[in-house]
Amino acid sequence: MTAHTTGVPLRAKPRNRPISEARGTRTRSALRFWPQYVSIAPFYLLFVVFGAFPIVFSIVISFTDWDGMGRMTFVGLKQYQYLLGDARFWQSVSNTFIIWIISTIPMLFIALVVAFLLHQNIRLKSFYRVALFIPNVTSMVAIALVFGSVFSDQFGLANAFLKWIGGSNAGVAWLTDPWGIKITIALMVIWRFTGYNAIIYLAGLQAISSEIYDSARVDGAGTWRIFSRITIPMLRPVILFTVITSTIGGLSLFTEPQVLLGNTGGTNNAGSTIVLYQYYQAFQNFDFGYGSAIAWALFVLVLLFAIINWRLVSGRKEDEFGRALPGPIGRWRQRNTAKKEAGR
């Protein structure tokens, strides 16, 4: 089992090409393949019922005024009209993006540095990896409770520390000031995902051939120069991947602000994210119609980002649609080999 526990999946070798049971007899009835269809059916069935149908159904709900209990009233596009003029919705959108930016940029940078450090042949490596990764598998609710007390305005450790350094007037209203709220949430995201991203970068680093480094060393390049001129460019596809996952995670931020600040997102709704606002409208105000309209707005945003990401990652090659997915690393390898060959 050792060969395929490697962090980077290998490309399919020719001998592992799928077996064609049909063997050139394409005209035969599809019924012949019933075991194959049965074995892949569960996913499609579940997706149609619990994935696709709700999304279509939410269009219907978003055209109504409904609290889930009383009568549904058809209101046409009114919910969307309201959405466009709803300052709180737009505030939630901007909150989501601000939190995403102030968490993702430092997080990915620190993760890169950590991965680089871990990649040195040092002792305790496996301990470090586990210790750094643990935040990622911990429940957000429990951790939000801990952060809530560490960053409490009145009795929190963070302010006690600031007071210890800067005198009794120091201290930040972490959970009441609009910026304090955003920073606290961002810190939680950073805490949780830095180790995760570092591990992914580490896998990327391990896939880079050591020859490049050796020759750079021979040329007299220092550590920083190697980091900025070789490591980062080589890791570009992996970095893109982490940006994508952080985007998806950032757009669906919910637990942290909800546990920390409640359904309204705290002072001035400064911690109200799009998903939290959707939840607030749907399951606190019981405005199912409006909640669905918000969901659709979010869906459009996610789609937009997915398309942008897709373009960035897949290099606009239509036929790589399926093959491209083995991951940015795989593609990087391909490109790298091609480059090397061209260079020789």
Binding site: P18, I19, F133
Partner: protein
């Protein structure tokens, strides 16, 4: 992680480069190593500190937690707090439900995903390409977007308040199928399947006696991954579990927080209880898990 390439700036590389000036190089190497370890330790301490703090607070009285100056060290209230939580809220019931949900979801995902992945990787059938593309597109559909319609659907099915609402919808997913298909391509030689066919084994038998055993590394990883994800799921159980007697851990914990904010020692003890099983599971499977997470995530 066995076939690891020599590391960036590895000791070996440096030695080769600096061999003409041994003494300075050794000293420099030592300094570099100390600095490296020091930097990593800062990260490790920041990573682990919230856990220490959680533990420390769960051993203190509420007055100690809220008091000033901050009490940095554990006290002796742990058992009192734990007993307080367990006698006032059915946290053990929530724990049991979380195990039921996460465990059965993980098993279902392992089964359905490996079966589908086996099929996609090793067999040709009409419509395969199209179907696989559809599967890839569903990556784009994020789960928490359709809270309202999913809730209404569950209410029509009569599943609101039931644990099956947390299990069935996620019993097969595109991520796992995709991941395991990779494993199939790299670790399942066609010869084996071919010979099984020669021996007269049918499709499902081949899957059962050859496909599944050969894939067990990937399948186990997928199982742990699914288990952890489901264990930490919050918004959907929060919406769907209306019966106060049927809760999973995350919403129960959030309720504990709002219900007993006057007794923070309990809240922290409850949080500690909710965190421990997962950390245990993770540490047991950590080597394997971390090795695979990059492979899985890079494709996710």
């Amino acid at each position: 992680m066995t076939a690891m390439a020599p590391a960036v700036g590895s000791a070996e590389a440096i030695r080769r480069f600096n061999s003409h000036d041994g003494k300075t190089a050794r000293r420099r190497r030592l300094v570099t190593r100390i600095v490296t370890h020091a930097c990593i330790w800062v990260g490790v301490l920041l990573s682990l500190f919230p856990f220490y703090w959680l533990f420390a607070m769960s051993t203190q009285t509420t007055a100690q937690i809220f008091g000033f100056p901050v009490d940095f060290f554990p006290s002796n209230q742990l058992w009192i707090n734990i007993r307080g939580v367990l006698s006032n809220i059915d946290l053990l019931g929530a724990l049991r439900n979380s195990f039921i949900v996460s465990g059965s979801l993980a098993l279902l995902v392992m089964f359905f995903d490996s079966l589908a992945a086996f099929t996609f990787a090793k067999f040709e059938f009409p419509g395969k390409t199209v179907l696989f593309r559809i599967l890839l597109v569903t990556f784009l559909v994020p789960g928490s977007l359709s809270l309202v319609p999913s809730f209404v659907l569950m209410s029509r099915l009569g599943w609101v308040g039931g644990l099956q609402a947390l299990i069935i919808p996620g019993a097969a997913n595109a991520f796992g199928i995709f991941l395991l298909r990779q494993f199939c391509e790299t670790s399942l030689p066609n010869e084996l399947i071919e010979s099984a066919r020669v021996d007269g084994a049918g499709f499902f038998r081949t899957y059962w006696s050859i496909g599944l055993p050969m894939l067990r590394g990937g399948v186990a990883f997928l199982g742990i991954f699914t288990f952890i994800g489901s264990w930490n799921d919050y918004v959907w159980p929060l919406v769907i579990l209306v019966n106060p007697n049927v809760q999973t851990l995350q919403p129960a914990l959030a309720q504990l927080n709002t219900m007993y904010s006057t007794n923070y020692g309990w809240v922290m003890a409850g949080a500690l209880i909710s965190v421990l099983p997962l950390i245990a599971i993770f540490i047991i499977g950590s080597r394997h898990f971390i090795a695979n997470i990059a492979a899985g995530a890079v494709k996710g």
